[in-house]
């Protein structure tokens, strides 16, 4: 806490696990060739291409499904989240 008016530290949103908002869960299948289109379009910085494959950070993914819709290989499937 800086205790000085409406000034606050950078990047602390990482403490907010917006994955809790998710009702549809993307899962990456074998068709993924790591092209990175999903990563470009992810509004929640929840996709990284690691060792040539799309990897999703479920701590932050809100399940919007843009990645699944934009994937040219149809490699990402959206399924209802089971909690």
């Amino acid at each position: 806490m800086l205790n000085i008016g409406s000034v606050t530290e950078a990047g602390k949103s990482r403490n907010i696990k917006t994955g809790q908002w998710r009702s549809f869960r993307p899962t990456v299948g074998d068709m993924c060739n790591g092209c990175g289109i999903c990563e470009m379009f992810c509004p929640d910085m929840s996709i990284r291409i690691i060792t040539g494959k799309c990897t999703i950070d479920y701590d932050f993914c809100k399940g919007c499904g843009i990645c699944a819709r934009e994937c040219p290989k149809d490699a990402i499937k959206m399924t209802e989240e089971r909690k």
């Binding site: 806490m1 409406s6 606050t8 530290e9 950078a10 990047g11 602390k12 949103s13 990482r14 403490n15 907010i16 696990k17 917006t18 908002w21 998710r22 790591g34 092209c35 990175g36 990563e39 470009m40 379009f41 992810c42 509004p43 929640d44 910085m45 929840s46 996709i47 990284r48 291409i49 690691i50 060792t51 040539g52 950070d57 701590d59 932050f60 809100k62 399940g63 919007c64 499904g65 843009i66 699944a68 819709r69 934009e70 959206m78």
Partner: protein, 292 residues
């Protein structure tokens, strides 16, 4: 490929799922890098990124009011100059804060010639307050203040040509971009930074909540806007049109309209058919004017 670029917009922000603006700002910050100060107006971006102790900004960021981002940026730039620092100063503000309430301050900043990149994320209405029309709202769209009804076909006025207003200030670099074309957007941000003085980029950034489509369709809708000619993408350097995003196989405006709830009335109500025709006409005019 591997993800190498560091992101300066942190996850955990509070944007709606499928937010077009969040995609755009992430991409912009990848080009800007860490040596940047971002100034924003009040609006959706500020609301979803700047909660106390939950900031999503990894670069220094400042916001104070709705109508003053350009003037605040002027002060930031002046202070940096006096301190002998070379940090980039970039405004990222919405269409309400740009086309409407912030217009005076923007005009002043452009006229003063401050070395500032002004980027407007254009989601075509006041989304933060619940989808009221702005000067950027396109013709015939329903918003909460331009609802369609027996005496209304939605917004009666055409979209304000803010890029032309920027250009009229003699800016050396003016461009429009869309989140559907990330490479084009990032190239434009990079090129803008090579110009001294004020420059303006207008980024078309669909809003699924305000426009009425599913979150996964954000990029699709953005792409349709470009493919129909509703949103022309171009670049103007030193007063010359140097690049236009060409669409060889143009789509009818109808495809763009039917993808969004805000235009639903144009397709359902025969009394609004003329307005749908006008939208096609606006697209045709854009196609002709910009050589899309």
């Amino acid at each position: 490929m591997e993800t190498k670029k560091k992101d300066y917009l942190a996850p955990g922000h509070r944007a709606c799922p499928g937010c077009g603006t969040a995609i755009g700002v992430k991409l912009i910050l990848r080009v800007l890098g860490e040596d940047t100060i971002v100034v924003s107006a009040t609006g959706c971006l500020e609301t979803f990124t700047a909660t106390y102790e939950q900031s999503a900004w990894d670069v220094p960021w400042i916001h104070s009011l709705f109508e003053n981002a350009a003037a605040v940026a002027t002060g930031v730039e002046a202070a940096l100059e006096m301190r002998g620092e070379k940090t980039k100063v970039v405004v990222i503000s919405g269409d309400g804060g740009t086309f409407d309430i912030g217009m005076g301050a923007i005009s002043g900043m452009f006229e003063r010639g401050n070395n500032i990149l002004y980027i407007c994320y254009d989601n075509e209405a006041y989304m933060n307050t619940g989808v009221q029309r702005s000067g950027a709202t396109p013709f015939a769209a329903t918003t909460t203040t331009t609802p369609a009804g027996t005496c209304s076909f939605g917004k009666a006025e055409r979209k304000k040509d803010m890029a032309a207003i920027a250009l009229a200030h003699g800016l050396d670099y003016v461009a429009t971009a869309s989140i559907a074309y990330p490479r084009d957007l990032m190239d434009k941000v990079a090129k803008a930074l090579t110009f001294q003085g004020p420059k303006y980029i207008q980024l078309h950034a669909p809003c699924c909540v305000g426009w009425g489509f599913e979150p996964q369709e954000t990029i699709e809708v953005a792409r349709l806007a470009v493919q129909t000619g509703a949103v022309p993408l171009y670049e103007i350097e030193n007063g010359q049109m140097t690049k236009v995003f060409k669409v060889p196989a143009k789509k009818p405006a109808l495809e763009y309209l039917k993808a969004q709830g805000r235009f639903k009335h144009l397709l359902q109500d025969p009394q609004c058919a003329h307005a749908a025709e006008t939208v096609q006409q606006i697209c045709d005019e854009n196609i002709k004017r910009y050589g899309i």
